[in-house]
Amino acid sequence: MKKNVVILFVVMMVLGFSFGVLAEEIQEGGTLVFGEIGDAELINPILGTTDSAATYAEMVYEGVLTLDPVTVKPIPGPLCEKYEGSEDNLVWTFYLKKGVNFSDGHEFTAEDVKYTFEAIQDPNTNTVRGYLMDPVEGIKIIDDYTIQFTLKYPFPDFLTGTMTMEILPAHLYAGTDINTNPVNQQPVGTGPFVLTEWLHDDHATFTAREDYHRGRVHLDKVIYKIVADQNSLLAAAEAGDLDSASVPPAEVERVSKTAASKGLKMYSRWDFGYSYVGFNLALDIFKDVQVRKALAMAIYKPAIVKVAYYGQGMPATSNVVPGIQWAYNENIPAYEYNVNEANRLLDEAGWKDTNGDGIRDKDGQPLSFNLITNKGNTAREKTIELLATFWKKIGVDCQIDALTWTTFITERVMAKKFDAIVLGWTGMGPDPDDYSLFHSSQIEDGYNFGTYINPEVDELLVQGRTTMDLEVRQPIYYKIQELIHDDYPSIFLMYSKGNAVYNENIRGLIPSPIGYIHDWKDIYFVK
């Protein structure tokens, strides 16, 4: 009897909850007001360089392929019925959707796709996305709704990076200077919204298209309001002026307690970012892997996550983020904190404190170097302080400094004039290809600042980016992570977690490494 009562109770609870959910009524219409730190310079997916430019472009433009928010794998986008690759992964055919119109009424065809990708290749186009077209040998229009890409070699990022690029209207761009074309300020796309008002550095208003090819979205308008900085963004959302804001790590604890009372709901997601210590391997003291390993073993990563990032992250193990589930090698230890072992390694490497000043030395040279990062990023400024403290314990003298971003990047990092740096990569994308960071050819034209050279890694990196079969790629990336871990060219510190608040009446958000809003058709207010 008692059991039955419990079951009845549970059934009622479940029913009650489902009715509670069902009772939510979709509110047709409504205006969303979001905040952006810094306005977009233009709305053109090829040319844009700021986050806000990418955000605005996604309102009006659409891609042939898009990424699944959960698996982060490529799937046909709003402009594509289906796509297929040849056996050797070199010929890719895309069947485009018929009856799609740009917001000026012009019909979308394969011509627009061809123009967009050829514009990326054009040396006169001021785009930094030229790498997307590196593997592409030719583009052929089969008919108005079928287009074929031929590749020089199989290239995984072709589907996730290249083909997810949003498509521009060829009839308005072809034959003009794309860099200064006025359409960059008055975009004409196939997407669910049109730009109806744009007062630069103040706000941009996007209004739903009645004739959107997948049917009008629920919302009427989305307004992006420009705010001065992260503090005013969060303050405005808490005051109810904005429907969303990102929450910096230091504020997470406070906001998670007060969000509900302000009509906000908190969401978290793992992004594709990580922070790391990079060594200049050309420097004598860092040439010895024993020294780098000792430095890594002296770091207690959880302390960095807790103190510098207020717990909003997790200790990093390798150059691949866990969000790329298939490629992330779980067998690599997150950290190997062991001060005794670190001391032993340094002793063994010949670094001993002979003059009793607390700092190890060898051949009269103290074990001393500079560690720099960019000013204004308080988490990184705290990180370098913590690192200096950890290293002092094993008799290493580390001088820290924070420099302004442009000085840091142009005069020190890119110029390779540094001993060690703390830096982070964000927006690495859903592919684990780290060719530009660790391949030896990228010392000259790339981002291998630390001049890391390992022929085995070189070979694997090339293999990994020229095959598209995940089963073949997985062991390659597992091995790359192991090799890089054992070489310690960088110490990976932390995988970062993003937090944001949204108006509690908004539905359709899916926290994922690539964002919260993936399809505007899914987004609506409830009454």
């Binding site: 205006t31 007001v33 810094g38 306005d39 310079e41 233009l42 040319l47 360089t49 700021t50 040396p123 006169n124 001021n126 785009t127 930094v128 996305r129 030229g130 790498y131 990076g161 860099n179 200064t180 074309n181 960059n184 300020q185 007062l199 630069h200 550095d201 103040d202 706000h203 208003t205 307004i223 309001k225 420009i226 705010v227 001065a228 005013s232 405005a236 302004t404 971003w405 442009t406 000085t407 990047i409 142009t410 005069e411 890119m414 990569w425 927006g427 690495m428 994308g429 780290d434 530009s436 960071l437 034209d445 790339g446 981002y447």
Partner: protein, 317 residues
């Protein structure tokens, strides 16, 4: 008079060129370039070199300056490096918004300063005078940005009377005049405060000087009403130094607009200029510098000329 104007205009040319050379050098010598913001692990540094060449940034500085000057003569400020928009379009959008703030601020500052200055002078060493002096010194010593933040804290955050940022309410269906004014109150006050403070002091001393003149004593001895003496005879003469002051504070005021616009999210030239400086968008920074330089030069000239009109004792030859 004509020769004087002609000479002045002629002498403005080398000054103008000097200003542009110095600002061009400063702008380009700041570390980094427009491409620094684009750092991303997937971008090829060679792409960045190619874009730099497309923008003409690979050429030596004197060549770049020469090209800039030549197009300036054709009144062409070029296109923004970051957005590709013609700089003249950017200015057309932004300058009126800044002028709205600046001119309202200047007008308010002048009106209040003159009134307070007269009150202070005519009631010298009274409680009113001391009170105004205390306010004036406080206004001079308080940094603008701090004062602006305090305004937001008190009137927006705690009292909720006035909107903290922007030019109008985005959620409202229609923009009303009341909405516009409520968004302007705090920026205008913050903008005008330092000018009110210093101009009140100038007005006070200038008025005090005039009141002691013989012709004021004559006017009083004629039996004129005190208000006529002050407002008709004294005020006119006391305003002469204020004209100079107004013309010369212009550059200072534009600098103030940069700060005020950033704090109050006022979408004018100041904010665009700051963004352009961070992004190293040289054409926009140079256009704003040039425009400001021209304004200052022209206002200096106008100040000198009006001086001649309102003060018949001054003759140009």
């Amino acid at each position: 008079m004509t020769t004087y104007i002609f000479k002045r205009l002629l002498s403005m040319i080398p000054i103008f060129i000097g200003i542009t050379i110095i600002s061009f050098a400063i702008v380009h010598l700041a570390p980094g370039d427009p491409m620094t913001v684009m750092t991303n692990p997937k971008l090829r540094p060679s792409d960045i070199q190619r874009i730099k060449a497309n923008l003409g940034l690979d050429q030596p500085l004197p060549v770049q300056y020469y090209k800039w000057l030549v197009s300036l003569v054709r009144l062409d400020f070029g296109n923004s490096f970051i957005s590709g928009r013609p700089v003249s379009d950017v200015l057309k959008e932004k300058v009126p918004i800044t002028l709205l703030l600046c001119s309202t601020g200047m007008f308010v500052a002048l009106a209040i300063a003159v009134v307070l200055g007269i009150l202070s002078a005519t009631r010298q060493y009274s409680k009113t005078d001391y009170a105004i002096s205390v306010f004036a010194f406080a206004g001079l010593s308080v940094p603008t940005f701090w004062f602006a933040l305090m305004l937001i804290l008190v009137f927006s955050v705690h009292l909720g009377w006035l909107p903290a940022t922007g030019m109008y309410n985005l959620k409202a269906a229609k923009i009303t005049l009341g909405d516009r004014i409520s968004h302007m109150i705090m920026p205008v006050i913050a903008f005008a405060a330092p000018s009110i403070a210093s101009w009140t002091r100038y007005m006070r001393s200038s008025m005090l000087e005039v009141i002691r003149e013989d012709y004021i004593r004559t006017a009083r001895s004629k039996g004129l009403k005190e208000s006529v003496v002050i407002y008709k005879h004294a005020l006119r003469n006391a305003l002469i130094p204020m004209v100079t002051l107004l013309g010369l504070s212009l550059a200072f005021l534009i600098g103030g607009a940069f700060v005020i616009e950033s704090i109050f999210g006022w979408p004018g030239m100041g904010r665009t200029g700051l963004d352009a400086i961070w992004q190293r968008d040289y054409p926009i920074v140079m256009a704003i510098n040039t425009l400001t330089a021209v304004l200052v030069l022209v206002f200096n000239l106008l100040t000198d000329l009006t001086y001649g009109f309102i003060d018949p004792r001054i003759k140009y030859n």
